[in-house]
Symmetry: C2
Subunit: 223 residues, 2 copies
DNA sequence: TAGATTGTTAATCGATTAACAATC
DNA sequence: TAGATTGTTAATCGATTAACAATC
């Protein structure tokens, strides 16, 4: 059914390629090789080549790939060239930060409004984007044909927010609450798991301290 | 050298177990089975059992694991019981949001200060935490024995921020900039890749639209 | 031509899942 | 005892890497 099924790993790596390619000086680098990309990002070159093969045209032996083309192909594959409207549920600190971050437009994400249960927030604006009561969610989503919902409410109300989004006809959810959401099969949930990242950091640090690889402070910098 | 090397995948799942366990009503659930956890989080039960075996005591057949004990063991394994001081480089929107999020303490992360190149921000406070000029970073890190640095600067200055952190004696870096950082071998970088999450969301959505699984809006809700 | 690079096929590696005996 | 659950060993699966012929 799906002719070129792409692995999740590959999908996760594409944005790094994109940002690397964009960081290259345009005039100097018409061609870029998989080996170059791999070295810059600390990856295996065959892996990069396979990833690129999923989304772009063939490279040319000895030269590599046309950088401009690669950028366009990755962007179009990831859907960054078409703007998707999204709403945020939870206009707290994190929600506010996301709401006011202009950079998401580069990724094809356009946050149009926020919703919050807190009546004192309703009616106010963050960066020109209005905060509405939860009761308005369904109507606004359907009228504006919003397909993406972002959850930035506390963990205990995340499932409720999720249910409301689903009921509003949302198709994909980006969840910042550290909770596993239960959704119908046809709804996509992308978990943004900061707690998990933090766990990796924290565990490595704990391990290093236990093994005396680092001191309790900066001793290794002294004598 | 490392007696019980734990897989990165396991490490990433531990926080979900923890948050699930904490969400259980204490009085009702003295014991919790791997099967229950697995079902709740949409995982395989053997996987949960193997993960738990890495960090906790044996479970009891027919009953499961003692919930309280599991919570303690995971927390201690992840180092959440010992508070680590951290600093943030970049006091913009995202940096400010992280700075003012109290919840990190639960994960053993204590953000003590922020640094920013913008002179107009220097001297101000966010949630009682001071913003310092970059020039003060090294001295403060060494004096307070800070081991974790968080990067929330724009992509183009992330490597510079990173170099400064390394020079300041930082041991682990949590990077929110969508850039691959070059660091010495002994420094741990944890990449928080929102662009990658967004890519997954965006690509699935683009695919679904192409396959006509969803309409251009809410038509499927009509007639 | 020689050499860097591509793309593909095969081998390796690691993680997940299945099967099953042991336990309470 | 019967049945739910554990922990372990073996099988499966998928992703990464190695090897190599093809290309410019």
């Amino acid at each position: 059914m799906n002719p070129k099924a792409i692995s999740k790993q590959t999908l996760l790596r594409l944005p790094s390629y994109l940002s690397y390619l964009k960081s290259l000086p345009k005039d100097e680098c018409e061609y870029v090789s998989a080996t170059t990309i791999a070295t810059a990002l600390g990856l295996n070159d065959v892996q990069v080549r396979k990833d690129l093969a999923c989304v772009s045209k063939k490279g040319r032996p000895k030269l590599g790939y046309v950088a401009e083309e690669l950028i366009r192909d990755i962007e179009s594959f990831l859907g960054y060239d078409a703007l998707n409207d999204a709403i945020i549920v939870g206009a707290g600190r994190l929600g506010g930060a996301l709401l006011s971050y202009e950079g998401f437009k580069e990724y094809g994400l356009n946050i149009v409004a926020a919703f919050d249960a807190d009546e004192s927030k309703v009616g106010t604006e963050i960066c020109g984007k209005k905060i509405f009561p939860l009761s308005k969610m369904k109507e606004l989503c359907q009228r504006m044909k919003v397909r993406i919902g972002i959850i930035t409410v506390p963990a205990h109300s995340a499932q409720k927010a999720c249910d409301m989004l689903v009921d509003s006809g949302i198709y994909a959810i980006w969840n910042f609450a550290p909770v596993h959401l239960k959704v119908p099969d046809n709804i996509l949930v992308q978990q943004e798991n900061m707690a998990a990242s933090l766990a990796v950091l924290s565990a490595h640090l704990a391990e290093a301290i236990k093994n005396n690889e680092i001191g309790k402070g900066d001793e290794e910098n002294d004598k």
